[in-house]
């Protein structure tokens, strides 16, 4: 019976993860709200695009992190800088093919200079770029290069 329940839960758990995949197009104010959150959680915001090879390569690191630390107060948002005109044609099929389960927000703001500095004043707009913060704990750091899972874990573990 116990075995059966665990099995069922596993199926349900996997199902939920698969179903949790949500991708949407946003404007900068929605991202700004997230950056300003007062929540006592670790936020990992990764800026990427389907056309950026090193970005695509590091996506599994973020995906694995959220599964591994699902019990922790950790939220990961993958902010896609693909063009909004490519959302259905390119981004959604990509997410499906790569089985990306994290939240994906396509930031539809082409006038880059109006918002890049608001994300991080040192960031020049090069991707991949990752912002890690907990506003309640006043912790914040940025990584302006590609990272692998080990590096990412090393950075995030002390914060959890």
């Amino acid at each position: 019976m116990l075995k059966k329940t665990i099995f069922f839960c596993l199926i349900l758990f996997n199902y939920q993860i698969v179903c949790a995949q949500n991708a949407k197009i946003i404007k900068f104010d929605e991202l700004q709200n997230l950056l300003d959150t007062k929540s006592d959680s670790i936020y990992v915001i990764n800026f990427w695009a389907t056309w950026c090879a090193p970005c695509v390569k590091e996506l599994p690191a973020f995906e694995n992190l959220i599964v591994k630390y699902s019990s922790k107060k950790l939220r990961i948002v993958l902010v896609s800088l693909d063009f909004a005109t490519q959302f259905e044609k390119k981004v959604l099929p990509f997410l499906h093919k790569k089985q990306i389960k994290s939240e994906v927000w396509l930031l539809n703001e082409l006038d880059y200079d109006t918002w890049i500095g608001k994300v991080d004043q040192n960031w020049q707009g090069n991707i991949p770029f990752t912002l890690i913060f907990n506003n309640k704990q006043k912790t914040r750091l940025s990584i302006d290069k590609a990272v692998d899972e080990k590096e990412l874990e090393k950075i995030i573990l002390p914060l959890l």
């Binding site: 695009a49 056309w51 090193p54 880059y112 890049i116 090069n126 991707i127 770029f129 914040r140 750091l141």
Partner: protein, 200 residues
Amino acid sequence: MKKLSFLLIALLINLLVFAQEGYKVGDKGMDFSLKNIDGKMFSLASVKDAKGFIVVFTCNHCPFSKLYEDRIIALNKEFAPKGYSVVAINPNDVKAEPDDSFEKMQERAKEKGFTFPYLVDESQKIAKTYGAARTPHAFILQKQGAELKVVYIGAIDNNSESATAADKKYVEDAIHELLEGKKPTITSTKAVGCSIKWKE
């Protein structure tokens, strides 16, 4: 303790990431001697009667660089006769990105009909000195006496997807102002682009 270790990590990362130096507007721009796609060495000093330069760090593989190729060609066509020619520099590590090899640069320049030097910054020293972070990344230099001064750093315009939809043409506007004897109104901008592939 948690907080302290975080601070230490943050500090370390910031040191690693942002330790790279780079130009700010107003700095003196360095000349260089880099290999052009014709196999000859090119330096800014070799351009006679230059009023300045539009130095663009770019490459073959990056989709955002490709989106700006025609715009860079148009900039050179308009401004080279007026004293501001384009100088394109590929700073990427070929090991990390084989599509950015010297041979592929030659191919791409031929395909697109580049009318300006397309140089390879093999040691990545020039990209580091200038503070280029991405492709494309533009620097406008103006000749002031014997020196080259950095007068603009940033994007070419404000719409990567469509040149016609851009309503702020940063580089074009800045050069027009320089030609009128004024200082550029906008001197630095940020834009999305491919990270430069630094050597390990």
